[in-house]
């Protein structure tokens, strides 16, 4: 692991990609944390396996989405790191 100092340009390009990924996941986070739950009363009229859908989304659906987002971030960021040769293992 050498001190691979990026040029200013590479650093900017790296950070732009990283920030892009962050913003996309942040948007997904906002959707599953807040946006869809605004319609919980309406969604509740749909029932699946006994679950009112609005209740299900807050009790399980969003949680699954959160786990997937963390996995997605880990994988996608690792890909960016490798593209720029700055991975640390």
């Amino acid at each position: 692991m050498t001190d691979s100092k990026l040029t200013a340009q590479q650093q900017a390009a790296y950070w732009e990609k990283t920030r892009g990924l962050m913003l996309v996941i942040l948007a997904a986070w906002f959707v599953f944390s807040f946006l869809i739950h605004f319609w919980a009363p309406q969604l509740n009229s749909i029932r699946i396996l006994g679950f009112p859908l609005g209740y299900y989304m807050a009790a399980q659906g969003s949680l699954i989405a959160f786990v997937l987002m963390c996995v997605w971030n880990a994988k996608a960021q690792d890909r960016i790191d490798r593209e720029f040769g700055v991975q640390d293992e």
Binding site: M1, I25, P41, Y55, A59, F66
Partner: protein, 629 residues
């Protein structure tokens, strides 16, 4: 010792697999003892003392005299195990004991906790964990000091850290007290101190290293203990042992019971008031609480410092995903736990003759967690029955049954008539949850005092030995003070914990995020962010809680303020927002203060910007970290 350490790390999988097998075997053994008629009390003792003994043993085996091991577990914890340790660190008495209880009573409203305590990890993953790991120091205040110009920012961060963590740890010790009091049959105050011993045994000698490997062990116990009763209940009620899918049926049955009992607010209905009508206030409170809990997750130092312990930046990111997965296993089960518990109460308790109520009503009633309030005299036996007037018909109606939030998880196995071994298992799990979080919190507090205040601010020449001794003494002192406060105050676990989240969120989040993502932010921005965010949050928290009428009288220019009688006080709700979500005022205030201070003061120096560039990239060294001090 190094060879032993290497052997242990290479065999982690085998070590913890054997440990898990041994715990399952032990549980089965207790089950057999129960069949042979060994009294419940003995079974409870066995569960509690045996698990405490195991934690103490791990703590002793992992004792250390090295600073790096004491503060960050030597940075050798693989992502998967750090995920488990974070899970235990994270899931406290509030998650294990409090959450299903709050879902039991709050229905949909309680899901704010489920959402709020999971979604925050997305923020940890994308906004801070990898960068804090790259930064690579010992504590969260270290980051504030390096980023915002030294000891002023460090000191402020320490104040926030201690306020939030102390509030949080008091709640954990209350949880330990409740469990130990019930299962060892001793007084609540004594129980708080017994629990304290368990906490100190595992963290005193080995610091973060011992706490890490104990927390992995505690995670295994707590997740088994949480899943087993729900799986059994699901099999009993629906015939299929997959509670997370089957509790839809329980929800339907609950709805049917609600119609016969005449309950106005359906269990699964979203954003409704007590009469079952749509309520925007309920909705805004739901979202405010979610925001505070999520942002608080990404600000609590005892969690963030777990990501200082992984071997690499990549593993820090992977570890966040593992953490959330392990946490998810409990959180997506909690609503099932609550639903099956409610169904059991509706089916087997409500409508029963008082004379025929099972024994658990009396045993949980005697410590004030259950009340059967049919007659006026009931208040003599049941503390919870004060102010409830039953109709005295000898039958327990829904309105006469009282259950404390914190008793739902612990008492459900007995309510459902499951063998006592399961109650003991749940108690061991609750204890593991409360102890593991208390360990992490006490370590965060003690490290802030010994590393940040003593070593960095008072005596930078102190040698390693002296630093570690001071750290241990402080750890014990803080623990005793926390146990004393818990034992004398006792309080609702969930609301104390929610406060801790709001405090951390308002005080630290803006500084952490902008410190990494906004290079221009200079020293003034960091300092003002904490002062304004934390200050405003504490001001609203204290005034609304303790001086509600004054808030209503003098701050009506803010808008709607109403007074709610809760926790024996007149608490002011500004804009109808419950004051457990006071972070909602502090978080934006901190961001605004930082942006304003950042723009009017001079931008961060070129060296500082170079430092930030270097922590944004996983590979390479951290540049100018010393110049930044």
């Amino acid at each position: 010792m190094a060879a032993m350490q290497g052997g242990f790390l290479a065999n982690l999988g085998r070590v913890y697999a054997i440990y898990t097998g041994a715990f399952v075997g032990f549980t089965i053994f207790i089950g057999i003892l129960e069949l042979f008629g060994v009294p419940n009390r003995i079974l409870g003792y066995l569960f509690i003392f045996l698990t405490l003994g195991v934690y103490a043993l791990i703590g002793w085996l992992a004792r250390t005299a090295e600073v790096n091991e004491y503060y960050v577990a030597g940075r050798v914890v693989p992502a998967f195990y750090n995920g488990m340790a974070t899970g235990a660190d994270w899931m406290s008495a509030a998650s294990f004991i409090g959450m299903a209880g709050s879902l039991y009573f709050g229905g949909y409203g309680g899901l704010a906790f489920v959402l709020g305590w999971t979604g925050g990890y997305v923020l940890v993953s994308i906004l801070m964990a990898p960068y804090l790991r790259k930064f690579g120091q010992f504590t969260v205040p270290d980051f504030f000091s390096a980023r915002y110009g030294g000891n002023l920012a460090r000191g402020l961060a320490v104040i926030v850290l201690i306020t939030a963590s102390f509030t949080y740890v008091v709640a954990q010790i209350v949880g330990v007290g409740i469990i130990t009091a019930r299962f060892l049959d001793i007084g609540f105050q004594v129980a708080c101190f017994v629990g304290l011993l368990g906490i100190l045994l595992c963290s005193m000698l080995g610091g973060m290293k011992a706490v890490t490997w104990t927390q992995v062990a505690q995670y295994i116990i707590l997740i088994i203990a949480y899943l087993i009763p729900v799986v059994v209940l699901s099999a009993k009620v629906t015939g299929i042992p997959i509670p997370q899918i089957m509790y839809g049926q329980a929800l339907e049955k609950i709805e049917a019971f609600e119609k016969t009992f005449g309950v106005a607010q359906p269990y699964a209905s979203a954003f409704t008031d007590a009469r079952g009508n749509y309520s925007p206030t309920a909705m805004w409170n739901f979202f405010a609480l979610i925001l505070c809990l999520m942002v608080g997750t990404a600000s609590l130092p005892h969690i963030l410092m777990r990501y200082f312990t992984t071997p690499s930046v990549k593993q820090a990111r992977d570890s966040v995903a593992w953490s959330l997965f392990f946490i998810f296993l409990l959180y997506f089960t909690a609503p099932a736990y609550a639903a099956f518990a409610k169904l059991e109460v509706y089916q087997n308790v409500i409508g029963q003759p008082i004379a025929k109520l099972p024994a658990w009503v009396a045993s949980w009633g005697s410590i004030g967690l259950v009340g059967a309030c049919d007659t006026a005299q009931a208040a003599i036996n049941f503390a919870l029955c004060k102010g409830v007037t039953g109709n005295g018909d000898g039958i327990l109606q829904l309105s006469e049954f009282r259950l404390h939030t914190d008793a739902v998880v612990l008492a459900t196995p007995e309510i459902a008539g499951l063998p006592y071994v399961i109650s003991g298992l749940v108690a061991a799990g609750g204890l593991a949850a409360a102890l593991s979080t208390a360990d992490g919190l006490l370590l965060a507090i003690a490290n802030a005092l010994s590393h940040d205040i003593y070593y960095k601010m008072i005596d930078p020449q102190a040698d390693t030995k002296r630093r570690l001794i001071i750290s241990r003494v402080l750890l014990a002192l803080v623990a005793v003070v926390a146990a004393y406060v818990a034992g004398t105050l006792g309080a609702d676990i969930l609301f104390l914990v929610s406060w801790a989240f709001s405090i951390a969120a308002a005080g630290l989040f803006a500084g952490l995020v902008l410190g990494i993502w906004w290079k221009r932010a200079g020293d003034a921005a960091g300092v003002w962010g904490i002062i304004v965010g934390f200050g405003l949050c504490m001001f609203f928290l204290i005034t609304t809680e303790f001086y509600g009428p004054w808030v209503k009288a003098s701050m009506s220019w803010l808008g709607d303020i109403n007074i709610v009688k809760i926790r024996g006080r007149d608490v002011a709700y500004i804009w109808g927002i419950n004051n457990i979500s006071v972070g909602i005022f502090g978080i934006p205030a901190a961001f605004i203060a930082m942006l304003v201070a950042g723009w009017v003061s001079k931008p961060a120096s070129a060296e500082m910007q170079d430092f930030i560039d270097s922590i944004r990239v996983p590979a390479g060294s951290v540049r100018n970290a010393e110049a930044a001090h």
